[in-house]
């Protein structure tokens, strides 16, 4: 295991997005951030690199705004970031993103382990990592909550719906990680200040030889609206509080039964 690569996405911070009365989204004051699960992927890459004394680089694809992410990413333990800023990302779905990332990785060279977040904070399609592996013709291991590297092999623990599965992989592999795999560091001041001195390099989509159809999204977002859960506004008005409590408990129990049955 010599070289690690982490893929990350630069997304709007959902906490800054306001939902208007008509449920339309106001992103006017929203700042960008590294997608949450991708922070876990970066942290895992940095931890593995620190543990094994190897290098870890990152690759990101977004609009020109993605350049703002470089110092944040580099302050998190990465050695170098390759960034692709292109208008094609504005309408990109996982199909387009994976095509661009795969083409860039083929140009950058061989990586033994490619880490991604399980899904992005904005669309959460969970498709980029498996698509990337398919395009690179290497295995994909998803839903990973623990990674161990030993004797040139990667041992990944997967958290599935009804079991925990341990997978051993030899050779290049794409792994998508779950948030519980680690707790991303809060970069210290010295790490932030040192990030400005670390290298970053632009990769242009035009230099990757990607066919036009591979840059055309398969998915078209028709509209995006906020989601509001209406309160049920059930009020118990029995004279005795004990009766109100009993009714509340019965109502909650009924709700749980309905949830289980659905």
């Amino acid at each position: 295991m010599q070289k690690l690569l982490v893929c990350y996405k630069w997304v709007l911070d959902e906490q800054d997005i306001k939902i208007a009365g008509d449920l339309s989204l106001d992103t006017g004051r929203a700042k960008y951030k590294i997608s949450d699960y991708d922070k876990n992927a970066i942290e895992e890459g940095a931890l593995l690199a620190e543990l094994h004394g190897i290098s870890v680089e990152a690759l990101t694809f977004g609009t020109d705004a993605v350049k703002q992410s470089l110092k944040d990413a580099l302050s998190r333990g990465l050695d170098k970031v390759y960034w692709i800023g292109d208008a094609a990302s504005e309408q990109a779905d996982a199909f387009v993103t994976a095509n661009v990332l795969a083409a860039a990785i083929k140009k950058l060279g061989q990586y033994d382990l490619i880490l991604c977040g399980e899904g992005s904070a904005d669309t959460y399609s969970q498709q980029t990592a498996p698509r990337l592996a398919a395009l690179l013709d290497i295995p994909a291991v998803t839903f990973v909550q623990k990674i161990t590297v030993a004797d040139g092999k990667v041992i990944a623990t997967r958290k599935l719906g009804d079991c925990i599965e341990e997978v051993t992989v030899t050779g290049p592999v794409v792994i998508s990680v779950l948030p519980e795999i680690n707790k991303p560091r809060i970069p210290g001041l010295k790490q932030v200040m040192a990030a400005a001195k670390k290298p970053s390099e632009e990769v242009k989509v035009s230099e990757l030889g990607i066919a036009a159809e591979a840059l055309t999204a398969k998915v078209r977002a028709v509209s995006r609206k906020g989601y509001v859960m209406d309160r049920k506004k059930v009020v118990f008005k029995e004279a005795a509080q004990a009766d109100n409590v009993a009714k509340l408990v019965a109502s909650l129990a009924q709700h749980v039964l309905e949830e289980r049955g659905s």
Binding site: I186, L189, A195
Partner: protein
């Protein structure tokens, strides 16, 4: 001049907010309740390089600048004014003074341990019954060969008892009054130096205020900071630097209070609608938002001046003046908006009110801010 934060400053602000949310906010009420020095949080702040934030890299500092430091103070203050005050007294007063006036040997001897958190810094200036800057200091430092012998009592020493290093102001020439005050670097473990008591305060309770006793404390002459008689000038500038950070504290505390009032105003129903829809409530919120915004810009401006080696004392006094007004008025309005709940100890407004009062009253400048500002205008 541009007030846009650099990418590094934005990252530092973002990371400080995450740090404060993750580690400081959950402990804030308990710190206020127990009034205990938050040693665990200080340890985590050391890991984040907060203790040497604007100090030179050669001594282990992060060289991130004074503006970045005020951003951190603001973010910490949103969660706990007491934790911010611990850092402020260490950095703005103790570390700043040594970096500004210390000899090469003093910087080498003390700044690395202050940056690495081996020692927390404190400023021992106040005395019982003595007016600041009036030359009434009763703590004396008498030259004895290659040493000075310090005697007397200091009070309201922030970080007192927790600090490893004190900058102590003492009268070296009682005849010279205010011009006879000198500053000394005194290790907390020096024989004869003891903590008489911790003073129970209404706010900023986790930032210990101590009364110190100096009983024939022998300090090497090499620990004189600056020249003999320079103590007053050192204190005046360090307190001005602290005023900028205290402005950031007020911004952080008032911002947290305002956000709490907004949240409450949206939830609290009176006359069948949220009270945030009432013009009287909106008027109070709008005024505090405008005041906080203007104070924040003033803090950025003064911090930039200091960082760039320009004169900042008059601007710092303006912050002191403005912060005292808007900080307290914002908290009074927040408690008014939150009514009986805001007045209760169950809501955060009560702690923020007590803390904001501490932020504007502690580390008083040697003169009234109005006098400093007017003096600058009329000079």
């Amino acid at each position: 001049m541009s007030y846009a934060l650099t990418e590094e400053q934005q990252l530092i602000q973002q990371n400080a907010r995450e740090f404060a949310t993750e580690y400081v906010e959950p402990a804030a009420a308990e710190i206020d309740h127990t009034a205990a020095h938050p040693a665990d949080i200080v340890k985590k702040m050391i890991e984040q390089d907060f203790l040497g934030i604007f100090l030179p890299g050669e001594f282990g500092g992060a060289e991130a600048g004074y503006l970045s430091y005020t951003l951190i103070i603001e973010e910490l203050s949103r969660a706990s004014g007491a934790v911010a005050a611990v850092l402020l007294n260490h950095a703005s007063l103790a570390a700043y003074s040594i970096n500004r006036w210390g000899s090469a040997e003093q910087k080498q001897a003390y700044l690395p341990s202050l940056c690495q958190g081996e020692k927390l810094g404190a400023f021992a200036l106040n005395e019982p019954g003595a007016a600041l800057g009036a030359g009434e200091h009763r703590v004396t430092a008498v030259k004895d060969g290659d040493s000075y012998v310090l005697s007397g009592r200091k009070c309201y020493v922030a970080n007192g008892g927790a600090a490893g290093l004190y900058i102590v102001f003492a009268q070296t020439d009682p005849e010279a009054g205010a011009k006879g005050i000198s500053a000394f670097l005194v290790d907390a473990k020096t024989d004869g130096l003891s903590v008489a008591r911790l003073i129970d305060k209404m706010g900023l309770r986790g930032c210990q205020s101590a009364e110190l006793v100096f009983d024939q404390v022998k300090v090497p002459a090499a620990n004189l900071l600056g020249a003999e008689g320079a103590g007053l000038a050192i204190a005046a500038e360090a307190l001005a630097a602290a005023s900028i950070a205290e402005g950031a504290m007020v911004v952080g505390i008032a911002q947290a209070a305002m956000e709490d009032a907004v949240k409450y105003g949206k939830q609290r129903i009176q006359f069948r609608r949220p009270i945030a829809t009432f013009p009287a409530i909106q008027s109070m919120l709008a005024e505090m938002a405008a005041n906080i915004h203007m104070l924040r810009l003033a803090v950025y401006d003064a911090a930039s001046l200091l960082e760039n080696g320009q004169a900042f004392v008059a601007e710092a006094a303006m912050i002191k003046l403005f912060a005292a007004r808007i900080g307290q008025s914002a908290l009074i309005d927040v408690i008014q908006i939150e009514g009986g709940y805001g007045y209760s100890q169950e809501m955060v407004a009560s702690r923020l009110y007590r803390d904001v009062k501490g932020a504007v009253i502690k580390n008083s400048s040697l003169d009234f801010p109005e006098k400093i500002i007017a003096g600058n205008l009329l000079a």
